[in-house]
């Protein structure tokens, strides 16, 4: 007996015909639409930027990465900004002066307004400081020794008062983006207005795209470009292809390999600048006293085994500079304290003199911490091997538990591949973040890889609180020399900021902050 047939509402033949027709329509239709439509090339008056990370918002309370600074500051501005020579320059503030050890006096520019016409008021600054201090996990808050309070004098003038002296407050205030007080919240602002040369016309959080248009009420010189499109392209090879095709005008944060690919291509120019970041092969300072690495002489000896010039030329294709101290040369307050010298013979003899033999090292790092990270680590294994030191590598994927390892909670290690930036452009910020560890902080493992040297910490604190510029410079130099003498790194280097642009893009002034003022960027007519 055969199975009973049911009566479908649509016959199989009808269904197949329908499906075929729909498929054909979709396939042909898509291609036809594409061929008929534009190919994504930007218009004559439109600048298109491709970022390597998704711009979640145009606020920086929680998220800030180098490339975002350019875009964030084209919409929202601070009282100051870090200028091309890595010194604070006035933005919303006409002037900002230290008038007492614990007081800065600020005068706002006259008639300055947000893009919606509202006036900028001292209250907006007070609210901004309050919101930055309240938000949990703030990137910016960690740089402030304390948040100053605003004492309003009149509509344009106010004081920033603090309990202790903050001689670098003008640089720190560059990190605080000002929004209208009534709109500001203790969270990353997803929308809203600013005072910058551009305003947000539309954004698509899904795609990570922003469309900015010229702010007609901008207080400064009007932006030369009518519209800026910001796109998110995570894959570097895709960014390179998009630039080559002319679909994108500027790509930044590119690797040495991509730079090599793009160099010499017609219509493409590479821009480089120093950077505010120091990448280091940093020693573990939590080693017991009996361990060879707790001896500065052993650390120094190991640094002689590293052929820094070879790493710079052969691995990093001259896209980095070997460190000449404990902070990048571009930072304000940098002092040259020494050079990394390659002398494997000296390394061997020093280790022998110190009675160190059969030394084994373990290097840990997180993927992507710096360009060509794996190649550098493999080269280090070879270099240490040449002086008889066996080295083991352990690589962590982003989001993994490297923090637990760094704090010594998961396992032991000897060297860490790590980077540290100073977004204020000041050497003191880097010194405070890395070398001002105290035994109190070490109780919760909050020091930089266990670096607790009280004499160094005292020198950094002295430099940080000194209000006299000349004295502060001298103290800073002294502190940096003291750090260098402890040999905290086997090797360190400063990567260059690299971007590539189409030749039609004009007046792009890349700074060491890996950012550029969008207000000045124009397009060839």
């Amino acid at each position: 007996m055969t199975a009973e047939f049911s009566t479908p509402q649509m016959s199989r033949r009808q269904l197949l015909k329908l499906a075929s027709a729909a498929g054909l329509f979709a396939a042909v239709g898509v291609s036809a639409t594409a061929c008929a439509g534009p190919t994504g090339l930007p218009g004559k008056d439109t600048l298109t930027l491709a970022l390597n990370r998704s711009l979640v918002s145009l606020d920086n309370k929680l998220n800030q990465f180098d490339a975002a600074v350019t875009v964030q500051r084209s919409v929202r501005e601070g009282l100051t900004a870090i200028g091309p020579d890595i010194a604070p320059i006035p933005m919303l503030a006409e002037s900002m002066k230290m008038t007492a050890p614990t007081r800065w006096t600020v005068k706002l520019r006259e008639g300055i307004t947000y893009s919606d016409g509202r006036k900028v008021k001292p209250k907006d600054v007070a609210t901004a400081l309050e919101m930055y201090s309240k938000v949990q996990g703030s990137f910016v808050a960690s740089f402030f020794p304390e948040f100053p309070t605003v004492t309003e004098v009149d509509e344009r003038n106010f004081h920033l008062d603090s309990k202790g002296p903050i001689p670098i407050l003008d640089a720190l205030m560059a990190l605080i983006l000002i929004s209208p007080a009534e709109d500001n919240k203790a969270e990353e602002l997803q929308t809203g207005v600013g005072t910058g040369p551009y305003v947000v016309q539309s954004f698509d959080r899904g795609a990570g795209t922003y469309t900015l248009v010229k702010n007609e009420k901008y207080w400064g010189e009007p932006a030369p470009v009518r519209q800026v499109n910001v796109r998110f392209l995570p894959e570097e090879s895709s960014r390179v292809i998009a630039l080559r095709s002319g679909e994108v005008d500027v790509i930044d944060s590119i690797s040495p390999n991509s730079m090599e690919q793009l160099q010499g291509l017609p219509g493409v120019t590479i821009e480089t600048a120093s950077s505010l970041r120091l990448n280091q092969i940093f020693y573990n300072f939590r080693k017991p006293k009996s361990h060879p690495l707790s001896d500065a002489k052993v650390r120094q000896a190991l640094s002689y085994a590293v052929d820094g010039q070879a790493l710079v030329h052969d691995v990093l294709i001259d896209t980095v500079e070997q460190a000449q101290g404990v902070t990048p040369t571009s930072l304000t307050g940098f002092a040259k304290t020494g050079d990394y010298v390659y002398d494997p013979g000296k390394a061997k003899s020093m280790l022998a003199d110190l009675g160190v033999d059969d030394l084994k090292l373990k290097i840990i790092w997180e993927t992507g911490e710096f360009p060509s990270d794996t190649a550098i680590m493999e080269a280090l294994v070879q270099m240490f091997g040449d002086i008889g030191v066996k080295t083991e590598l352990q690589q962590f994927e982003p989001g993994g538990n490297i923090l637990q390892w760094r704090q010594g909670k998961e396992g032991d290690w000897d060297l860490l591949g790590n980077g540290f930036s100073s977004p204020t452009g000041l050497a003191i910020t880097m010194l405070q973040g890395m070398y001002a560890g105290t035994s109190e902080k070490e109780k919760t493992r909050d020091t930089y890889q266990g670096y607790v040297i009280p004499s160094v910490e005292r020198k950094i604190v002295r430099a940080a609180s000194e209000v006299d510029q000349a004295k502060r410079t001298a103290y800073l130099k002294d502190a940096q020399q003291a750090v260098w003498d402890t040999w905290p790194c086997a090797w360190a280097f400063t990567p260059k900021s690299i971007l590539a642009r189409r030749d039609r893009v004009q007046n792009l002034e890349l700074s060491a902050a890996n950012a550029y003022p969008l207000a000045r960027v124009g397009l060839e007519s």
Binding site: P8, R12, A22, A26, T39, G40, T209, I241, Q404
Partner: protein
């Protein structure tokens, strides 16, 4: 049908529930700390503890799970840590991109693969078929990443016909669609060929042929009709898999889909975002699977849902 549908929906919901529960546990067992990813390398232990408290990660695992179950019923899975927006909303923002790419790819694959498979079946064991077979094997072997980069170089840089990345114009859909479809065409066409050849060799077809049924009817109505169910199932299953995102293609073409979103969520240990992505894609996959099952009677009248075939 009246009992079949509620039963299948119930099974589907149970599958989704078990999936999200397992994912809830697994991501918390994996190494990494969402608070550290959120607050950055400069955060102190005190700040990390405050962030953990803010995210509710300081609570016992069981309590976190109970809260999560409660959230499942309200549809609000919490704020994404990295996007600072409702996690479900972040996924929904990306979903149209994934649906567009998956739909266009599967349609293109079906339109090319079915006729190609039929052609291969009709010309089985000829030189021409062998040549096409080699091409399909090549299509199956080419990594998506390589295919994508080659297409980009060819049709965005050398001959600038299509946008290189993103979905700013409809043209942006073409190259990602072709990249995804190439593998599917290779797989489905070979499957169609195999099914058709089996049917061509089946006794019922010889009987029909001996009764004077035309070759056109034999091919399109008899052989393809019987090959329909496995091919349709394969297309549906592949479509459901694409709804989880085609990560490599999304990355190469800067396609803002769900696949690249979940990679980012995993890197930042963004638990609400991972959970929201898994929930939504699992619901979609189950729904697609259910629709496939419901479509079977249309393709083959002998199939009766919810009843065993009578003897």
């Amino acid at each position: 049908m009246l009992t079949y549908l509620p039963k299948r929906i119930g099974q589907g919901l149970l599958t989704v529930f078990l999936t999200v529960s397992v994912v809830f546990l697994l991501i918390r067992m994996a190494p990494g700390d969402p608070a550290a990813s959120f607050a950055g390398p400069l955060a102190t232990s005190e700040q990390l503890a405050a962030v953990r408290e803010q995210f509710g990660l300081d609570k016992p695992l069981f309590e976190q799970y109970i809260i999560f179950i409660g959230q499942l019923f309200t549809g609000h899975l919490g704020q994404s840590y990295s996007f600072q927006a409702p996690a479900v909303q972040v996924v929904m923002d990306r979903l149209p991109y994934t649906l567009t790419l998956a739909t266009s790819s599967i349609l293109l694959a079906a339109v090319v693969a079915i006729p190609l498979g039929m052609w291969m079946a009709r010309r089985s064991d000829t030189d021409a078929e062998l040549g096409v077979n080699v091409l399909t094997i090549a299509g199956q072997s080419m990594p998506d990443f390589w295919t994508g980069i080659m297409l980009l170089t060819g049709f965005s840089v050398i001959i600038p016909l299509f946008p290189a990345s993103g979905f700013t114009t409809w043209g942006g859909l073409v190259l990602p669609t072709i990249t995804v479809a190439i593998l599917q065409v290779a797989l489905i066409s070979r499957m169609v060929k195999r099914e058709m050849v089996n049917n061509f060799n089946a006794p019922y077809l010889n009987i029909a042929r001996s009764r004077g049924v035309s070759e056109r009817v034999l091919t399109w109505r008899y052989a393809l009709g019987n090959a329909g169910i496995p091919v349709f199932t394969a297309l549906g299953t592949r479509f459901a898999a694409m709804l989880n995102g085609v990560v490599v293609v999304e990355v190469v073409f800067g396609w803002p889909g769900v696949g690249s979103l979940i990679v980012r969520a995993l890197e930042t240990r963004d638990y609400p975002l991972i959970q929201a992505t898994v929930l939504i894609t699992a619901l979609l996959a189950v729904a697609v699977q259910l629709l496939i099952d419901l479509a079977y009677p249309l393709l083959d009248p002998r199939v009766r849902l919810g009843k065993a075939a009578s003897a």
